[in-house]
């Protein structure tokens, strides 16, 4: 079981309130990702759930019990830290066994669990090494192993992949997703990388300045962002925004069109502009088009085969069904 409910929790450091009253429901077995720019309070929120920080007010409920006053170790949660936080003076085996040792398990039971976890994580050959002798990915696996053996109600991940290089990050992302599918345990995952959020989550919680901007499945957020912030944050490359005359034509203060929902042509289209930079990735081409009256270059995602070059005049047409409209508060107009 791993159902976590946050009731009107707040967190202040001194006079600064980093989390205004916040409600959130995390269901058993869900993979929930907290995403937002740096300093949005996502890590603080995770640490509140972990019990590493005390809430200033409100209640945290884990599996039907009020856990607000329960110390971290007794909450039945396991955490994987950004820096891995392995114990450098212990072997991999001792690192993974540490929570079991603290729980007072006998040596045989400890070994059995450590061996099982090591097998799942491909660490069997490294059990006698020290963390310092491992690569980044292996260290990350040890940290995950230390979390798995506790059989927690939920896993908490605090930006676990941000210290890894790009290729390894993709691998570990898959491994964590696979782990979730096999364990079916609740996972809460904090990241500032919206690609990680989109690819891994069952449910994404978008945060800004401690406030939940939107909660929903990756595709819900992609297709119907509740406001401009979510629209701009989710999706890569970012959504293009048009204001003024561009928007008033659609009865909105701002309209947003994703790069993949703009078609580009040499001959005719709705808006015309000049190609600034074109990035050819093979599978796709990204064009950055300077359109008069739009402050930032408009990003267009096109097929890999198009032959647009710097300085070409092009015409852009948005897919009318895929235009997002926002009012002057930045909220979505249905």
């Amino acid at each position: 079981m791993g159902q976590i409910t946050l009731n009107q929790i707040t967190k202040s450091f001194g006079d600064v309130q980093v989390i205004p009253p916040l409600d959130l429901q995390i269901n058993d077995g869900e993979f929930v990702v907290f995403v937002g720019p740096s300093g949005c309070g996502k890590s603080t929120l995770l640490r509140l759930i972990a019990g590493l920080e005390d809430v200033s007010s409100g209640a945290i409920d884990i599996d039907g019990t009020d856990a607000t006053e329960i110390p971290p170790a007794k909450r039945g949660l396991a955490m994987v830290f950004q820096s891995y936080a392995l114990y450098p003076h212990m072997s991999v085996r001792k690192n993974i066994a540490f929570p079991l040792r603290m729980a007072g398990l006998d040596k045989a039971a400890q070994d059995a669990k450590v061996d099982a976890a090591a097998k799942v994580l491909n660490l069997t050959d490294y059990l006698d090494r020290r963390p310092g002798q491992l690569s980044g990915g292996q260290r990350q696996r040890v940290a995950i192993g230390r979390a798995i053996v506790r059989e927690p109600a939920a896993f908490l991940f605090d930006e676990p992949l941000s210290n890894l290089d790009a290729a390894l990050r993709v691998n570990m992302r898959l491994e964590i997703s696979e782990l979730h599918q096999s364990l079916k345990t609740t996972m809460i995952y904090v990241t500032h990388d919206q690609v990680e959020a989109m690819t891994m989550a069952d449910k994404i919680v978008v945060l800004q300045a401690g406030v939940i901007e939107q909660v929903g499945s990756p595709l819900e957020l992609y297709h119907t962002p509740r406001n401009r912030f979510v629209a701009g944050f989710i999706g890569s490359p970012k959504m293009n925004f048009f204001m003024g005359a561009f928007a008033s034509e659609y009865n909105a203060a701002t309209i947003g069109v994703r790069p993949e929902h703009l078609s580009v042509s040499h001959t005719d289209g709705k808006w015309s502009g000049k190609v600034g930079v074109s990035e050819h990735l093979g599978s796709d081409t990204f064009l950055y088009v300077e359109v008069d009256g739009v402050s930032e270059p408009v990003t267009v995602r096109s097929t890999g085969e198009v032959g647009f070059r710097h300085g070409d005049t092009v015409h852009l047409t948005p897919d009318p069904d895929k235009i997002h409209r926002f009012d002057n508060q930045g909220l979505r107009i249905q």
């Binding site: 972990a50 971290p72 170790a73 396991a78 950004q82 936080a85 114990y87 003076h89 540490f98 230390r146």
Partner: protein
């Protein structure tokens, strides 16, 4: 741009380092040499350096006249005891300041350090009177306590610096893993801080061993450590340089040997955190 280290510059640097090292070591060397001379050779003019009749006579006389072992034992108990006690108090104190700092932590650290700026003689009277009242005068317990208190700021400062280098996330991980505060300090923090704790220990043993002001003023016969042993040869028998040197050599030998064997640890400890 880094300056190029030419072979010539390297030679000059090495020579300079040796020269400075020998200059600093010379008084100690001279003391040791003198301890093997006769009293006449010890004050001869011009002084003799290596070519004299080596003798162990001074050591025999010193050993005969005073009970070296008793002074040594007192030194070991007082220096060792005050250091261990200081570490036991210093580890939790440094832990709290390094990992759960408050707004006032920096002030407390500065305040503790400021006590080291006070001349010791300024508090001699109050401490002396306290010692009389508490019956601590000329006791090893009393001296251990005073030396512990005197070195505590240094112990806490050193430990604080080492603990600051340990990432807080590791301790949080231990907390998540179910470690109590005691287990966290015992199984995680202390083993990780072993190099730092070891050098703190060594440095403070040396400081306490060499401490002369309090040991001379607060002891008479029973609890007197090796500093008092040297002093007993200096004033009334000031002209017996050879015997004074023998006594000094015997007093500094244990700590010199300890320092020699632990020099790697000491240097590493003292530069810890400064060079990353």
């Amino acid at each position: 741009m880094a300056r190029a280290v030419t072979p010539r510059r390297k030679t000059i640097n090495t020579l300079a380092a040796w020269a400075i090292g020998l200059l600093i070591f010379f008084p100690i060397l001279w003391t040791i040499l003198t301890s093997f001379k006769t009293e006449a050779q010890a004050i001869s003019d011009p002084p003799v350096f290596l070519f004299f009749d080596w003798t162990l006579e001074n050591y025999a006389v010193v050993q005969e006249r005073s009970d070296y072992m008793r002074f040594l034992w007192n030194s070991v108990i007082i220096a060792g005891g005050s250091t261990l006690l200081g570490i036991v108090i210093g580890v939790p104190a440094a832990w709290s300041m390094a990992f759960v700092p408050s707004k006032r932590t920096k002030d407390i650290l500065m305040w503790m350090l400021s006590t080291k700026m006070l001349p010791a003689v300024g508090v001699l009277y109050p401490i002396y009177l306290l010692f009389i009242k508490l019956g601590l005068l000329d006791t090893r317990v009393g001296l251990t306590l005073v030396l512990m208190l005197i070195n505590l700021p240094i112990i806490i400062w050193m430990l604080y610096t080492y603990f600051k280098e340990i990432p807080g996330e590791i301790l949080e991980a231990a907390r998540m893993d179910g470690a109590t505060l005691k287990e966290e300090i015992l199984y995680i923090l202390t083993p990780m801080a072993v190099p730092g704790i070891a050098s703190t220990l060594l440095l403070n043993i040396i400081l306490a061993w060499n401490e002369a002001f309090w040991t001379l003023n607060l002891t008479a016969a029973k609890a007197a450590p090796l500093t008092a042993f040297i002093a007993s040869y200096s004033s009334p028998e000031g002209l017996f340089y050879a015997k004074l040197s023998a006594a000094s050599t015997m007093a500094i030998a244990p700590i010199l040997i300890l320092g020699w064997f632990s020099q790697k640890q000491l240097v590493r400890g003292l530069t810890f955190g400064a060079v990353k």
